[in-house]
């Protein structure tokens, strides 16, 4: 009677051992590398030999105080502010789009239609010029309170807080609001894609546990949707860094590109000023990409650990006595 072990023994030393195979050869990789090496060499040679690049001047322009102000206020604060409004607004719009309330659904789609249809530079120009032209200020109080107060002959007009729009619109705040409102329309679609990518069973499990709709969305669905939302949002953020240069339409003058251009025209170092501004945009975008990496890793927890995360988790497990959960 021949069993499995007999077969194995009979095979003896003939059984195949460790594999020492040659890897597939990739000749075209070497060709590509050579071509790229030549191009890079040409570029470097141009940088070094062509004095018109004038890097020292570019570096000087980069660290001028008005340029740094423009970088911090216009580009960095502008991007962060607009993206915060955009992401929060976008998620809100997406939840409205997916709600069972027909009024909310319609409002969300009209919003998206409107803001997606207008070029940002036009929107910003209109906010900058139009709002102070149409309204003197923004009153925070009871809707139609002034009319009521007037009709009833009351001394109060139900206004609690007054914001002068002539002042407001010339500030960065108006620009951030404009960019943020526009961004929300795009983020709404990204967030909606993220939310519908989460398995329906997740919301059902949460509801079966007695969680309300709001908690289900905030604690169960959105954190999982973020895994899908973060990568395109990184894209949007980087696009927003560049779109802050449109703030000049408001006009906001503490803005990177505008400030660099002024220096460029004043000193006639046009090319150097472009090098300076390109360098700043690239630096900001590089930092953002690093941030995106960490965000993706955070929201990807529980979904196929990366090698490093797995190793870290194992170390943590080893360090912790059994039965103690981490939170």
């Amino acid at each position: 009677m021949s069993t499995k072990t007999d077969v194995v023994r009979a095979a003896g030393q003939d059984r195949p051992g460790v594999i020492h195979a040659r890897p597939v050869s990739h000749p075209w990789r070497w060709v590509a590398l050579a071509v790229i090496a030549v191009l890079v060499a040409m570029m470097i040679s141009s940088f070094v030999t062509n004095e018109r690049w004038n890097f020292p001047v570019a570096l000087q322009i980069m660290i001028q105080q008005p340029v740094l102000d423009g970088l911090v206020k216009g580009t960095i604060v502008g991007t962060i502010g607009a993206m915060v409004i955009g992401v929060v607004g976008g998620i809100l719009l997406a939840v409205m789009r997916l709600s069972s309330n027909p009024v909310l659904r319609r409002v969300a789609s009209v919003y998206t239609w409107f803001f997606r249809g207008i070029p940002r530079i036009v929107l910003l120009g209109m906010i900058g010029i139009g709002i102070p032209f149409l309204y003197d200020g923004l009153d925070f109080g009871v809707p139609f309170g002034q009319q009521f107060g007037h009709a009833l002959g009351l001394s109060t007009d139900f206004t609690f807080f007054h914001l002068s729009l002539t002042q407001f619109s010339s500030t960065l705040l108006a620009g951030i609001l404009g960019l943020g409102l526009s961004e929300a329309a795009y983020m709404a679609e990204i967030a909606r894609a993220g939310i519908i990518s989460v398995d329906k069973g997740q919301a059902e499990a949460a509801q079966a546990l007695g969680m309300g709709n709001g908690k289900t969305m905030r604690r169960i669905v959105l954190p999982q949707a973020m895994r899908v939302i973060v990568p395109p949002t990184g894209n949007e953020t980087i696009a927003m860094v560049k779109d802050t240069s449109l703030l000049i339409a408001i006009p906001v003058i503490t803005e990177l590109y505008y400030q660099v251009r002024i220096i460029g025209t004043r000193t006639l170092e046009i090319m150097a000023s472009y090098v300076a501004v390109v360098a700043w945009y690239l630096i900001v975008c590089s930092v953002l990409m690093v941030g995106q990496f960490y965000l993706e890793r955070y929201f990807g927890r529980g979904f196929g650990e990366t090698k490093r995360a797995a190793k870290k988790a194992q170390q943590e497990r080893a360090a912790r006595p059994a039965g103690m959960g981490g939170a």
């Binding site: 059902e204 499990a205 969680m211 929201f299 979904f303 988790a313 943590e316 059994a322 959960g325």
Partner: protein, 294 residues
């Protein structure tokens, strides 16, 4: 596989009715899926719901905890009308989201596909509802969760994400998660049918233990042996109606309805085929793959 003869078991039912469903009807886009289902479950009882695919078992189970709305009939759980409020004139008013959530808190549900929260560890899955819904402090909830995980045999896995657990382990976490809300009633929708055969036993074992603690359970299952040994009451459904119900020995041992008989014959054949597969095929390391349909 022959089973040792079993001493006749007395029902676990404590007498008081916990679930009463009367004349439940439900249609999806005009396709009538439930056609007047009646079901009574007493406290402490284990009821197994059997029936061919598409007979409406899942739909009925989901109606009980309001994941699905019903078109007709009434469901009471612990004396409370589910999903509606009846005023003095007998007019029904649909309950709001908050009240529906409150009613669901009393009912635990275990899904065919586990539906664990993948972004939370096993422990976080278990403490989520107690802390978020009941407002229990995190440290108290954790203590209880550690106990619950131990009771389903997962004392060593609190920090594992669901993606790093086997199907059987995930389903046991899901059971612990439902139990953490201290439900009066547990619903199981084919809790083992998404599992590899060798993982079915560990989940059924946990369910048996739970039944022995006196938990009231409604279990949709294709596990005949479980129904035979654990159920106090078996309900056979086909095409949206209850064809036959009663004690397991009667319904499974001596079915009167022709549809029940043909279903049981098919199940029996399938079980024998599985058993044959397990016995005859030499150790290929591939058990659990199952046979292609004949």
């Amino acid at each position: 596989m022959a089973r040792a003869a079993r001493a006749p078991r007395t029902s676990r039912a404590t007498g008081d009715v916990l679930v009463r469903a009367v004349n439940i009807t439900k249609a999806f886009h005009g396709n009538e899926v439930l056609k007047g289902i009646d079901l009574t479950v007493h406290g402490g009882e284990v009821v197994c719901l059997l029936g061919p695919s598409g007979s409406g078992k899942t739909t009925f189970l989901r109606c009980i905890n309001l994941l699905e709305s019903i078109d007709g009939g009434r469901i009471w759980v612990d004396g409370e009308l589910m999903g509606y409020r009846e005023d003095e004139k007998g007019q029904l008013h649909t309950l709001g989201d908050k009240q529906i959530a409150a009613q669901r808190r009393e009912i635990g549900m275990v899904f065919q596909r586990f539906n664990l929260f993948p972004h939370k560890t096993a422990l976080e899955n278990v403490i989520e509802a107690p802390t978020q819904v009941k407002g229990i402090s995190k440290s108290k909830a954790k203590e209880r969760a550690v106990e619950l995980l131990a009771s389903v045999g997962l004392a060593d896995k609190p920090a594992a994400y669901p993606g790093a657990l086997s199907g059987g382990q995930q389903q046991r976490v899901a059971i612990a998660r439902a139990l953490a809300m201290d439900p009066k009633l547990m619903l199981f929708d084919e809790p083992t049918s998404a599992l590899d055969p060798e993982l079915v036993g560990e989940v059924l074992r946990v369910m048996r233990q739970l039944a022995d603690t006196g938990m009231t359970m409604i279990v949709v299952t294709h596990e005949m042996e479980f129904a035979r040994e654990v159920a106090d009451h078996v309900v056979f459904m086909d095409a949206g109606v209850v064809c036959e119900e009663g004690p397991p020995d009667e319904v499974l041992g001596n079915p009167k309805n022709e549809r029940t008989r043909s279903f049981l014959r098919r199940m029996h054949n399938a079980e024998e085929r599985d058993a044959a597969t397990a016995d005859d095929v030499p150790d290929t390391g591939l058990e659990g793959v199952g046979l292609p349909p004949a």
